[in-house]
Symmetry: C2
Subunit: 133 residues, 2 copies
């Protein structure tokens, strides 16, 4: 019998951990509807918001999708390297670089709070087979 989830956030994390690729809110909704057919988008978005605040999940702005954090606690925002071929996202910690970006914006008096750094391209695995296309 399907296990009853007591906690939406745990359930979401479990689904995200099954995937290397970020998942859209509606993909997550569909996945969890196998347990609860009446689940609504609102519930998913609320749980995602909570997980984001906790740093357990990162939203990928340029994909409108969500990935679970692959690092432990990190206070610095990170760089997301997104493979446009296979969809895999590599989360890279680079606090010095984030600091340098902050410094650049501060030159004009800007006060940075949140950094969205998403690099699109090809991962090592996909890049090495590029010539076949």
């Amino acid at each position: 019998m399907p296990r009853q989830r007591s906690n939406m956030q745990e359930a979401l994390l479990a689904v995200l951990r099954q995937h290397e690729q970020p998942q859209s809110a509606y993909a997550l909704l569909a996945a969890l509807r196998t347990d609860n057919a009446k689940l609504a988008p609102t519930t998913i978005y609320r749980a995602l918001d909570a997980l984001s605040e906790q740093g357990m999940v990162h939203r990928i702005e340029s994909l409108n999708a969500y990935a679970c954090c692959r690092h432990g606690d990190h206070t610095s925002d990170c760089i997301m390297a997104i493979c446009d071929d296979c969809g895999i996202v590599e989360e890279q910690l680079a606090p010095k670089l984030i600091g340098a970006i902050s410094a650049e914006t501060e030159k004009s008096g800007f006060a940075p709070k949140r950094h969205v750094v998403e690099v699109h391209g090809s991962c090592a695995a996909c890049g090495s087979t590029e010539d076949r296309k």
Copy 2:
């Protein structure tokens, strides 16, 4: 009498130039519907795509909105400093920093193609009045 636009792209650029804040595709649609009541989203998105390819317009991923380029030609991607208070976006050229971000992702064999660098925070004007909130 309202001027007949021969060219959607020109019309879009004109609207974007009237605003310091990025505009959503549907805001642009609404603006241009005063000239052409039957204008459809598709037309707007196609023109925005064309302008983006030409580098005349930049999409702000974390806002789902579009801003016209405030620089002349630039081959390097740029940094967008987004004020969450007033909505103004400052477009900053920093090719060295973009290069450093590329270098970071290349460490794992990634081949970067496009950089999304969007920093949220407060601009100088809004930041200086923060205490009033």
